[in-house]
């Protein structure tokens, strides 16, 4: 100590200053890091969930938080580039030109509503019905496609081309989602690799280096103890199962494989049944509403018929996973693989059902927005209803009525919940093109769902009987989300490029297809820029660019 102090006096003034400033910089950086981690949304909640229920369930909640942020950013994007200029122009701040609709050859696709009578209860009923199904008063607000009729807004010399902005904002949010998901999954993948590499030393690592010596708070220490316990138990459990699988005799293997094939056939049958019923329901509901469109006036069709596709999809999404999770118990896989397989099957049901819906709605593109909106609202209502009316009463029954104890408390089904939110997110992605305020609704929806799920988890669920590791599940959730995003690309791509945009409403009225905005604008650029853009777009350049 004395030597050090003597040394310090020997150093020149400059070096001393360097040292002290280095130290204070370090301190400032550390404090900034601490502060920024406090700003992280829901940090404390997720930490406490991790302690009580393990890292598997915690990864679900982090995933939910990620989606809230993603939707919020998408909303800001769409709002600032598309909605805000429209609203401002409508109030006449800028000079704006509205696209001239060519007088002949147009079918007024945009629906006109007969003014409804203002009697009290009926008015309330129609208001509620419209809110739930996106028709009526909602249809002409900025929620939907039809609102954006401005062609270009002029701000002194610059013109703000709204249709182009609309299209580009769509591409931007898709690209943003893609990049963000890939970045997150790369992080998870790296972790996976490292973890995989060190398999042969993972126990030593956990035991000798498992304790974080920086923990100073007793509660945090408790949480760390519990998560260490969970991790060790998970690892040991997986190892035991691997051993069991390796020990299987030939006869047992045969039995298990035939059982698996039989169950897979049942699964395929269930899936086809669901898709067919969704298709029939959508066609039926469209037929019934189309009858009235011919007269340009949408009359008051029976509520249930309008919502039929949403109801059928929600039912299918509810029943199919239950069937799958029941069946998978007979297939005797390790817990991690079980979760993945059930997840894959449920993914297929959920996302393909959206695909079937879109396929059956093919020629009514303006209804896409409404259907997506309806699905979002319904999804939210169902989640609320299931939590309130199934989980809480079950807990009350189990604690007070001993004869029903065989039922037990519900376990938190990770795959089921992840699927719900990936499904909601895919709908949001597809729907945002047709209904730019949908991300805002999705943000609020996920925000509320976080609290609902957390409360339901804390009060009604018991910790999983089979503890589960999160790191690989985390990566897997992101892969599923990516599949949803790719699925969202397909209908959007086709509708932008091929389907002729409706001539009566929406921002693309003066173009043949939505994509036509881009070539039009490019033609307006100076010739040199056009050449550059053509060069970039030519295949020789684009393909290698995308590969990289």
């Amino acid at each position: 100590r004395d030597c050090q102090q003597a040394d310090i006096k020997d150093l020149s003034g400059w070096k001393q200053w360097q040292r002290t400033s280095g130290k204070s910089l370090k301190k400032v950086l550390n404090e900034a890091k601490e502060l920024s981690s406090y700003l992280e949304l829901w940090r404390h909640d997720i930490h406490s969930i991790e302690g009580k229920f393990g890292t598997g369930i915690q990864s679900y909640f982090s995933f939910l938080r990620f989606l809230v942020l993603l939707n919020f950013i998408i909303f800001i994007l769409m709002f600032s580039f598309v909605t805000l200029p429209s609203i401002i122009s409508k109030y006449g701040i800028f000079n704006s030109s509205i696209a001239k609709v060519p007088p002949k050859n147009t079918e007024p696709h945009c629906t006109v509503y007969k003014p409804s009578s203002n009697e009290g209860l009926v008015y309330f009923y129609t208001y509620l019905k419209d809110l739930l199904s996106g028709t009526g008063f909602l249809e002409v607000t900025s929620l939907f496609y039809g609102y954006y009729t401005i062609d270009a807004a002029w701000l002194s010399v610059l013109s703000y081309n709204l249709p182009l902005a609309y299209l580009l904002a769509t591409f931007a949010y898709l690209a943003l989602s893609l990049l963000w998901i890939i970045k997150r999954s790369v992080d998870g993948f790296k972790q996976n690799l490292v973890h995989g590499e060190d398999q042969f030393q993972s126990y030593c690592n956990k035991v000798f280096a498992g304790w974080d010596f920086c923990i100073t708070d007793l509660n945090a220490a408790q949480l760390k103890h519990r998560s260490l316990l969970y991790e060790l138990q998970t690892d040991l459990e997986e190892e035991r199962l691997k051993q069991k699988i390796a020990d299987r005799t030939m006869k047992e293997k045969l039995r298990i494989y035939t059982l698996r094939i039989a169950i897979n056939t049942i699964v395929i049958a269930v899936l086809s049944g669901c898709f067919y019923s969704i298709y029939r329901a959508t066609v039926f509901s469209q037929e019934n509403t189309n009858v009235s469109i011919r007269h340009d006036i949408k009359t008051d069709t029976i509520g249930a018929v309008q919502y039929l596709p949403s109801i059928v999809i929600t039912l299918a999404n509810f029943i199919a996973p239950q069937i799958f999770s029941f069946l998978i118990r007979f297939e005797d896989y390790s817990p991690a693989f079980e979760i993945r397989l059930t997840l894959m099957r449920c993914v297929f049901v959920r996302l393909a059902s959206i695909g079937v819906l879109l396929f059956s709605l093919w020629s009514h593109i303006s209804d896409f927005g409404q259907e997506m909106y309806k699905l979002t609202i319904f999804d939210f209502i169902i989640i609320l209803a299931v939590t309130l009316f199934l989980d809480f009463p079950r807990k009350l029954l189990v604690t007070h009525c001993s004869s029903v104890k065989w039922c037990g408390l519900p376990e938190f089904g990770i795959s089921h919940n992840v699927l719900e939110i990936v499904y909601g997110q895919t709908i949001c992605w597809i729907g945002t093109f047709f209904s730019p305020l949908l991300p805002a609704i999705a943000t609020v929806k996920y925000f509320i769902i976080f609290y609902i799920k957390k409360i339901s988890l804390m009060h009604t669920c018991k910790p999983a009987a089979r503890p589960l590791r999160a790191s690989s599940s985390n990566f897997f959730f992101l892969v599923v989300l990516l599949i949803g995003l790719v699925l969202a690309f397909i209908p959007l791509g086709i509708s932008i490029a091929h389907i002729s945009s409706s001539k009566a409403c929406g921002p693309f009225r003066s173009f043949n297809t939505s994509w036509a905005v881009v070539p039009d604008t490019v033609r307006g650029f100076p010739a040199g820029l056009q050449q550059v853009l053509h060069g970039i777009a030519s295949e020789a350049f684009a393909v290698p660019f995308f590969m990289v």
């Binding site: 100590r1 126990y203 000798f208 280096a209 498992g210 010596f213 100073t216 708070d217 260490l228 060790l232």
Partner: protein
């Protein structure tokens, strides 16, 4: 350090010894499951009461700081984990170690079968000479390849 001393001894900080109970009130040690072992290892007290002088205190802080060499850290970690102080980590030590990690209390311990399985795995991974115990060099070898060790043992400010 002087904050931990009772008032009357603060005058001769350099030669006073702080009793173990006071050391354990430090925030870094309060929640640490290895607190008793840490005090025991760093204390140079002849009475065996695990009290620490200023030098011991400094030793402890320097080992746990960022700039300590990793073999010093692993050396001290080995001594901390060696519950019976016999110079090797045998099954009993490992069992106590795991119990410290998973927390006090009956429901937070591994079952006997799980413990056996875990200890078996640890020995398999680290016991090179297959003598059923881990000595210092085997420990240092294992810990040098562990990605988390440096991170967790090195950031006391």
């Amino acid at each position: 350090f002087s904050a931990l001393l009772p008032k009357e001894d603060r005058v001769n900080v350099c030669s006073a010894r702080v009793p173990k109970s006071q050391i354990l009130t430090l925030p870094e040690l309060r929640a640490n499951p290895f607190q008793h072992r840490i005090c025991h290892v760093f204390s140079t007290s002849e009475d065996g009461d695990d009290s620490m002088s200023f030098e011991d205190f400094l030793d402890m802080l320097s080992v746990f700081s960022d700039s300590a060499a990793s073999d010093i850290k692993s050396h001290y970690a080995f001594r901390i984990f060696d519950f019976d102080d016999d110079g090797t980590l045998d099954r009993k030590d490992l069992e106590k170690l795991v119990n410290c990690l998973t927390g006090q209390g009956e429901e937070s311990r591994l079952s006997d079968a799980e413990m056996e399985q875990l200890i078996g795995n640890i020995l398999e991974e680290s016991d090179i000479d297959k003598d059923g115990t881990i000595n210092l060099s085997e420990f240092q070898h294992v810990v040098s390849r562990s990605p988390d060790f440096a991170r967790y043992c090195g950031v006391w400010q």
